[in-house]
Amino acid sequence: MIFGTDLTIALIAIAPFLASFLAPFIFRFSGYFAGWILAIIPASIFIYLLGFIKPVSEGGFIQSSLEWIPQYNLNFSFFIDGLSLSFALLISGIGTFIVIYSGKYLKGHPDQGKFLAYILMFMGSMLGLVLADNLVVLFIFWELTSITSFLLIGFDHKRQASRRAAIQALVVTGAGGLALLVGVIILQQLLGNWEFSAIRNYSDYLQSLNIYPLVLILISIAAFTKSAQFPFHFWLPNAMEAPTPVSAFLHSATMVKAGVYLLARMNPLLGASDLWFIILTIFGSVTLLWGAIWALKQTDMKLMLAQTTVASLGLLVILIGVGTEIAISAMVIYLVAHALYKAGLFLLVGIIDHGTGTRNITELAGLKKFLPISFIAAIIGAISMAGLPPAIGFFAKEEMYLALMRFDIDAILIISVLILGNSFMLVVGAAIATKPFLGEIKPTPLKPHEGNLALLSGPILFGILALAAGIFISDFGKLFVNPTASTIYNYLVENHLKWYIGMFFKPLILFSIITWIIGAILFYRLENIRSFLRRLDDGFNWDFDKGFDAIIFSLIRFADFLTRLWHHGRLELYMVVVFILLAASVLIPLTLTGAIPSISATIPYLTFYEWGVIIMAALGLFALLIARTRLVAIVSMGIQGFAVALIFMLFGAPDLAFTQFMVEILTVVILALVMSRLYLDRRDNRIFEDVLRDGSIALIGGVGISILLIAIVQNPLDLRLTEFFALTSKPIAHGSNIVNVILVDYRGLDTLGEIAVVMTAGIAVLALIRIRAGGPQMGIGAAKNNKRRNKNKLASKKTSSSSANKRSRKNSTRNININMKQGKAKR
């Protein structure tokens, strides 16, 4: 059901980009308040989006489209439905507080303006991604999130770890982006439309095609790389090199959810098949357990949270894979719950780091007295993370267990994985909320202090929202869960979420109780588990990180190998390649198309003086080839040049002939001047094999050009341009000499360019002759130069004066050339 169209939706994605251009200037004027000022943009987007909640929850669907390349049916089209609205609200809502938080967190950092610009750019990309209807637009914003994530992870680019993490994230998510592009193109080819809203109901047709598994795998690769699913999970913990607000925003609440978003979005089209179920649940389960277990190994609280993010993403993927109505509802609730508590906890870790100088959980204790508000916010976050009532996390857990209340082997396996994963995550949440705050105070690098309003506003509000959403679950379900789940499930999902006393006495609650009990036991033995996992990890000397390094380094080595193969530094071999290709590109098409002309054996009819000129040119070339002395070489250069000029003269091109004469004289004079200063070998010192190689390449090339030219002149010539010039030269351009009219009138700008080239060459020659201050200090010439410096003092004076002569001569040549042409034009 289309509710209406609204162009302002496109503006939602564009506005943050506009703000990002202003960010550095706003930062310059307002310093630390820039965070507060720039937060207006995401805040107003959020408020604007709130207005859509009601229509969307009533089944509305708002579209907007800007024309892009209509020939290919490509438009910047956006739409708002339940799924995109929930994501957009999360992005803009959390984003608002991230921007405020960044203002304080990076206070005093010289690049803070840049940072805020990147964050806003990311926000725009992410909003565009979730609002995009056109699949190409979706891909573009997908890639933009990868790029902005690269910039943000590598923000502290002076550290190698940071650069490595940034490159890693870019390579992994970029590779997934390519898979997405291919998948999207296949979809368009199969279904004939770029708009997702137009193809979402073709799932039966698509899934009956043989190519469906390929599409599914491509889309899964895209989603798995972005959402850090096993085996692509390793980039996400490394991305914690980024400043904490980035980790909270990109790498827990929004960007890493883009993969989940993609799967959810594609669910109506690709979902509900066996393959979909198998791929998503298996990879999701491995990711969930892997992330949850390694989270216990970490002592850096940020890394603990990062690993549980990996686990949570796995959990979301499992739920999409299961794909029943309740599983999808559970996924939506968990998505919101996770975004709220994870962003909040990340920001709290940032506050602890900011306030004490460390975020190592073993070095922190007893901060309750110094950071009381943070403590309360952390407890609320942990409650939601542990799935305790009344927080929203409780319902997320209940729903996912409810979805798998079946007695078949799949459901039992999956539910066991979920219980284990949830209890591990409970441990991490409890550890972060209690260990740093309770117990005896430990010495920290900084004197512990609480964060201010800018830092605390986010975590507090997220905590309140997590509680509120849990308490008012029935409204939350009606306004958010049902519309979102309906979009993913593609059927209307009915509301069934509410509080009642009976729910604590139903068998379902048993699963939660098991989760809490396992969690409590694990929490009690956390130190032992950690040291066990550490020993286990030390036992292996390979991990995914090392594998990534190996791939990148072998790529560098391969690039080096290729460069050395092609850029070997032997100029004559480069030339050999060029001319072999020239000969091949002339001869091969001629042979393949059968265009080789038949050449009659009759001697062409030419007058004796024409023959004379041609023979003269040939003799000049031959003499040049066998020239043993400089003088012979220069004279034979001159001979062939004059022969060319005479050919121009004989065949109706006097202008060319004059210019050629002029240029040929100057060439010979300059050549004589320069050659007399070079002490050259008299002979061409090529060895016989080289003569053979070069000779045959030259011969083949020459013959090829001859054949090409003969083939060309046997075909008719399109003379329309020539006729145009002949007809219009006098009446329109008022010049009789058509060649000159073309040069100075029809193609006047070309002639201007030509003059510029001559001038540039003159300046370059001047520079070459002038710049000789001591010669190179290093390299081949250096030692010799130093030796000769004293000896050559006199000589250099002489050369500079002669080069000055040459220069002035050349300048006059240029003037002559130009004057000549212009003069003739006026004729």
Partner: protein, 125 residues
Amino acid sequence: MEIALAILIGMFFAVSIYLLLSRAIIRMLLGISIFGNAVNLLIFTAGRLTKETPPIVPMGEEILLEPFANPLPQALILTAIVIGFALFTFLLVLGYRAYQELDADDTDTMRIAEPERAPRPPLTY
């Protein structure tokens, strides 16, 4: 008559390619100059040959009547000759200065930009 010129142009190309494949800078320069002539003649002949009638509108006439030499290739070549000359002088001086600085006119010994043992790329990020 185009065939005779086509064969001559083939010779121009062959000689210039042979010279350009030399390792001696000065021979390469000669090759460049001849290559320029060869290309100019190629364009000239491809635009068809007409004997002794330059494309100039006679006095008192408004339009030019057949037959006349094709002016379009001539305009192209006129530009090419001048630019070719500028390139040639620049290369000549470049070669001359390289000879002065490096005391070499053999391209195998002129390897500052691409040294024989270039360092390997670092295996870091």
